[in-house]
Amino acid sequence: MKRIFVDYKKCLACKACESACAVEQHPCHSLMAALGDHKTQVNVRVLGIDHEAFPLSCRHCDPADCLNACPSGAISRDPESGAVLLDAALCKACAMCAMVCPFDAISFKVTHRSLYGRDVAYKCDLCNERIKEGKSPACVTACHSGALVYAEHDALRGRQAVKSLRTYLLGAEGIPAHVELFRELRRKEFARRRDGEQ
């Protein structure tokens, strides 16, 4: 099962993932159509947390609390890709799923998938159509800094463990030099703003 992994230290908060997701999810598949459209659905949200950034989207958990909480049959799992999918046609926006999602990955609004003129729950669908064609999810394709990685769950976990050990033993983070420099600048900028406030 392939999943989207977040290497947040490489996130430059450029929001290319958000734009790509909005275009991918929009019925017209065009940036011009998605801009200024209040029904545009963006399934990934880059959080700015002081000097850090984190692209937040559904983790497609297994077992998934949202799937087990949905009383209207709207949330299901694709047996092939393992993606947790939300069918807006069945969703009643009752918030049972949002109540138990620890990641705040489910939001509500009137989207292009709303059938009854009211808000529905929406979240990342792992670009289920795209990945079945052998492509990566739109956000991963758009990410140029390596903060979003689409990879096999177990293999990547293994590599991460090796990397963590190397980091622990050698003190090397494995973050590219230019990204490290950017992080440094961002940290200083935030520190400067904080000091300015006091």
Partner: protein
């Protein structure tokens, strides 16, 4: 082996589906006092709000065919003969079982059952109720309604009919709506916000005492304070009681163990089952869908594989219907309160021994999942709970993960 379910509600549907998924090949009979495929009670009010009936069948309208079930519908089960392993219906039909799944749910409790004989007075619990209300409202061009009872179902009813365009008066005996899932302050906040956002006329600390009829047709209701409200539609939703008479002879619910067994060959689940609370350990009926589903899965697993154990129920609930104003709560409202409010958002967490004992999150679902997991995992949060609920950008979970404080 032959399995019979009493009830075709959410627990029974989940149970039967699980049985089939786990490879159970025996005969399954499902009994119901209604004539529908399994439907979701959480969804049925939306039918009144104008959404298609098809969506209420949360596991598909062809459920009985797809899972090879013999349905026995529109014929309530009135007696379970545990000695002879038989269930008897009101029409006098018997069905024998090897294993019984008793999930008959709950029914509306009416202070004056005779009111229901009047045209224009309805309960708000079943799809039968919804279809009747829908037909009544359309055929008589109803413009006003009075909802008696401001618990979860009452508020649900008021919002569904409000969404349909009716002018609603909501009568509730307590000082605030949703008194079971809110504390005093939170409940008052939620009540005021609901009234402001919808324009529903909320009458607190009073009850509907009498109905005024004319030739069997409802004309008006009289409140305890003597006030008279003209209306041709009254919804009575002041409480429910479990349908446990057929098995236990009383309406106190069916006691169960951690395998969801009420008897060596009778499983129970859902709104009729008395279970243990996962955090406090107290016995009670925790009538929400996630509990019913987990209980049904445990029962199915135990029937097929002989193992599995239920970890307990959680009294967590959320009301968010027709307007974007969620009210989330869980646990007990006792202990040391931490409150935070900003505009439409109101949060309160109760701590006991440094752990979350209960919480109430109104106006916004952000961080509610994080708080829910902190509550379940019994983590100590006394040092940072104030920060968690008051983080201006609602990102306390991610702050913790990234180590940015």
């Amino acid at each position: 082996m032959k399995v019979v379910t009493v009830g075709t509600g959410m627990a029974a549907a989940e149970f039967v589906q699980r049985l089939r998924l786990e490879g159970f090949g025996g005969e399954i009979v499902m009994c119901s006092d209604e004539g529908f495929a399994p439907y979701s009670p959480c969804v049925i009010p939306f039918y009144l709000a104008g959404e298609p009936l098809q969506t209420v069948y949360w596991k598909g309208a062809d459920f009985y065919d797809r899972y090879r079930v013999t349905p026995r519908l529109s014929d309530p089960v009135v007696e379970v003969d545990t000695a002879r392993r038989l269930v008897r219906s009101a029409a006098g039909r018997n069905a024998s079982y090897d294993r019984l799944f008793f999930a008959s749910g709950a029914r509306s409790w009416y202070p004056r059952p005779e009111w229901l004989e009047t045209t224009g007075v309805f309960g708000f619990k079943t799809l039968t109720d919804m279809v009747a209300i829908d037909r009544y409202v359309s055929e008589n061009n109803i413009k006003k309604a009075v909802v008696f009872g401001g618990g979860f179902i009452g508020v649900d009813a008021a919002l569904a009919l409000w969404h349909r365009g009716l002018e609603i008066t909501l009568v509730h005996r307590n000082t605030r709506l949703l008194s079971q899932m809110t504390d005093e302050d939170g409940g008052r906040f939620a009540t005021a916000k609901l009234a402001a956002k919808t324009g529903i006329d909320i009458r607190l600390k009073t009850t509907v005492n009498e109905i005024v009829t004319n030739g069997g047709q409802l004309k008006a209701v009289e409140l305890a304070n003597g006030e008279r409200i003209e209306t041709a539609l009254l919804i009575v939703s002041i409480g429910v009681s479990p349908n446990s008479e057929a098995l236990c002879g009383n309406d106190k619910g069916v006691a169960s163990n951690d395998q969801m067994l009420a008897d060596p060959d009778i499983y129970t689940a859902g709104d009729v089952a008395v279970t243990r609370h996962a955090v406090t350990g107290e016995q009670g009926i925790f009538a929400t869908y996630p509990n019913a589903m987990q209980q049904a899965r445990i029962a199915a697993r135990h029937l097929v594989h002989g193992d599995g154990s239920f970890g307990g129920s959680i009294n967590t609930n959320v009301l968010k219907k027709h307007i974007d104003f969620p009210i989330v709560s869980a646990g007990r409202f006792e202990g040391e309160p931490y409150t935070w409010q900003q505009g439409d958002i109101w949060r309160r967490v109760y701590l006991q021994d440094g752990m979350i004992n209960g919480y109430l999150i109104i106006g916004d679902t952000r961080i509610s999942g994080f708080i829910y997991h902190l509550y379940l995992s019994r983590k100590r949060v006394d040092r940072n709970i104030g920060t968690i609920i008051s983080e201006p950008r609602h990102d306390s979970y991610y702050r913790g993960v990234l180590g940015v404080h």
